[in-house]
């Protein structure tokens, strides 16, 4: 007798499980169809870093070529930060800023330690390429590209 009771109880539990999936079947889908729609990405999203434009001279970056980010990067992703002193100016202007994104861990230490607040995270969330060399960014060139866009 107990066997029959157990079987009936089991069957009821299975049927209630099937009710759940039926309900889900008729519920609207939650899919965001990526290339056609995109998820709202938080403004704090951490992509690779980018250089921020100087408010006073929007065609240039805020970077003062101090090398703090380079020294602080845990994985040595920031390969080369170079700049030159333009005539009649106090601060240096960055000319080369090579970021090896393939070793970056998006920890934000460079952004945090930057004394000039020249670095920020970009929202490049879907970068792909056939070559890994494409991820050696020159942030100055990226900055110029973004400026045009």
């Amino acid at each position: 007798m107990t066997v029959i009771v157990e079987i009936i109880k089991g069957a009821i539990s299975l049927i209630s499980g099937m009710c759940v999936t039926t309900k889900a079947f008729f519920a609207p889908v939650v899919t965001v169809q990526y290339p056609r729609q995109t998820v709202n990405i938080s403004p704090r999203f951490r992509g690779h870093t980018k250089l921020v434009a100087d408010e006073e001279r929007p065609d240039r970056t805020k970077c003062i070529v101090c090398g703090m980010c380079e020294r602080n990067c845990p994985s040595g992703s920031i390969k080369k930060v170079e700049g030159e002193k333009l005539e009649g100016e106090k601060k240096k202007t960055a000319t080369v800023y090579i970021l090896n994104y393939t070793t970056c861990s998006q920890c934000g230490l460079c952004v945090e330690t930057c004394p000039a607040d020249a670095l920020a995270f970009s929202a490049d969330y879907n970068v792909t390429s056939y070559k890994k060399e494409d991820f050696y960014y020159d942030l100055i060139k990226e900055f110029d590209k973004r400026k045009k866009a």
Partner: protein, 524 residues
Amino acid sequence: MVKTVFDDIKNTLKGVEISETSYDERGYHLAIESQKANIINIVEFFDGKGFYLEDLCCVDYKDYLELVYFFNNHKELCRVKVALKVESDKPAAPTISRIYTIANWYEREIHEFFGVYFENHTNLTYLFLHDEIDCYPLRKDRVPVTEDDRRLLNSFKPEEYEDGFFINLGPQHPSTHGVLRVVVKMDGEYIVSAEPVLGYLHRMHEKMAENRSYLQFLPNPPRMDYLGALNYNLGHVTTVEKLCSITVPERAQYIRTITAELNRISSHLLWVGAFVADLGGLTPFLYTFQDREHILDILEGIAGSRLTYCYFRFGGLYNDVDDAFIDATKQFIKHLRGRFGMYEKLVTKNVIFINRVKGIGILEQDKVPKYGCSGPVIRSTGIPFDIRKTEPYAAYDRIGFEIPTGTIGDNLDRYMIRIREMEISLNIIEEAIEKLPSGPFKAEKVPKKLKPPKGDIYHTVESPRGELGVYIVSDETDTPYRMRWRVPSYSNLMTFPYLAKGELISDAIATLGSYDLVIPEIDR
């Protein structure tokens, strides 16, 4: 407790150097300097008292190596550090793996990384490292692998000398959730013995810690346990804060609690899905991921990434939370509470599910100290052991919550505990949000270059998988002299050979799933 243990050792173990230490500074109550001759006696003493071996690690001081044993008690907090010095050339020490089963793996690990030879160890083969390693990686000086050990490299090949039906679960196998390999000897569908092989994802975290400053090590802990990233982040930060005596503002403490609990829920959600997927039901996996996405969105909104958050900083946080975060969290609490009923109908009450997990993989309460397991695994046996209660960190001491416990320690208990813990985490978050004070989110005076005072510290936090311990030896520079991570999955997995023995292969896979293993955490 501390006093009685102190007196007992003084009385029973003659000639042992024992001293009381400041728990607030060091993280342990008693320190014992032992000798090779009496280490076994000391360990047996703690075994008799019902202590468990919390951690066993090694520190290379160049002139000598120091083996550090940590003992603790599940019933009442009493952490004892036992140090044993061994000479640096041809180091050797007696094995304690006969007394504590978990020491078996710890000793193998130390043997690989430091070259310490443990006398009378039953199986001192390589557990972590690959075949072509030519030195002991964690030694300060480059010490080439000895001729004896070279022979041991890759000597673990049971298929060759034993007659039996062997199956390799892994390193690529759908059930191991990563790159764990378990060599299983089978008799038909029944398991005769199971032997995990680790190290397929050994990413040298402990070595890296010695090469980087405290600050630069920040991105590493989240990658050790990618599911409980914030908890690991928290473990690292709180330990260093304690070492440098940095006080953290209240607001930051509460936000740490909220985010760490959110992270715990997301980890448990993924586990519930993966566990049922191990049992063959795929749909709950997608449902839990759907709920998990809400948490990921919330956490991405403040920490910037979806998985390996690097959010906590020494003395506070990377950035403050906004109202959107609070609203989203409140909404999520409401949402998830509504979903539990669905999970109950779909999974918890399902007769097939219950029959698959009930009474399987039973871990008895008295076995627990031998393995030193923690987290839901230990709570399933009925021991209410939770670091959040015993050694509160962040804002856990200001929030009331209960610890769910199981009764017999089977897979069903472990499942129920995690489900219950999610509900409790929701309560914690709710209370923390209510109490969330305003104020700064970051301590004002945190030096850019941390130079902690000389000494060592052991600090623990409760990760979703159990007790996470961080042991730091500082030498007054801005890089740790040695940073040791005691990870929960490691000691939990150690029980697998015992639990799997005599089980059906499908049950063993359910048991393996019930640990909630994260492989990079085990391999470090």
